[in-house]
Amino acid sequence: MDCRTVRDRLTRSEPGSEVAVADRTHLDACAECAAFARRLELARETLRRPAASADAMEPDASFALRVVERLPKPAELLGWAALRALPAAVVLVLALLWIGVSQPPAPDYKDLLSESTSPDLVLTYAALAPEAGP
């Protein structure tokens, strides 16, 4: 059995599982693979241990209060909601501005007195300013 296969099997094996007889025989004969197996076991042992000390893994009595202090306040949530609605508000304002700018100007009342006034212009004026006029 070659070193590559044995190391591959060792790396993929479940931690703490029995080493197969064939692999054990290889490890007894190959010093490099035996050293690899020891390092792998040490690495797994290190991984099994918590990174933090036991003290750091226990919350103190005021932990919950510290969490509650950091919860977003209703005002902050309103602020977030406003911020999220901002793009829609900008689009609405721009659309209204565009409608206002693109609207044709209201005809001047004096234009209606001319002889060449078209019936369309009279109707437009009547629609835009029904209360005005002669």
């Binding site: 931690p15 690495a43 990174a51 919860l71």
Partner: protein
Amino acid sequence: MHTLARMLMGAESIADVADSEAGLIRASLNGDQDAFAALVRKHQSRVFQLAGRFFRRPEEVEEVAQETFLRAWMKLDTYRADAPFEHWLTRLCLRCAYDRLRQRKGDPGALEADVESPAPDPDARMEVAKLLAHLSPPDRFVLLLLDGEGWSVAEIAERLGWTRVNVKVRAHRARKRLRRLLEEG
């Protein structure tokens, strides 16, 4: 008879716990911060234990635990009661830990803790700990869950919301890199 009574009492108390937890969740959803504080107190030990697996510095453990509960508060409406609340919280905690590990690339902080603890061969342990510090945060994360927590691929997938294929691929890559590191070391 005595055993049966105890069993019934046990079942009742479990139901009570579930009921009270559901009540706390409902109240928290309505904005009751006191109810949420009670939920935090109920689950804070488990969250600290989990965060402590990944981070050595106490302030980082605290920060991850706080972040977990803050996310829980913000996302509480996404919790579905068909799974235990603790599982949902575990998933949030793991994701917080994962995000934090990814943020601090190049800072081998998490796994240097145990080099001072008594060991048959302290030099070898220190050497291995230094090698592990060269693993990328995602690799360390997966190996911690597999070899540290002893979780199966299915358990990791379920608790993190990843697919099994995703976990298998990540585990394969992480083990390959670990093997290379140990061979080079």
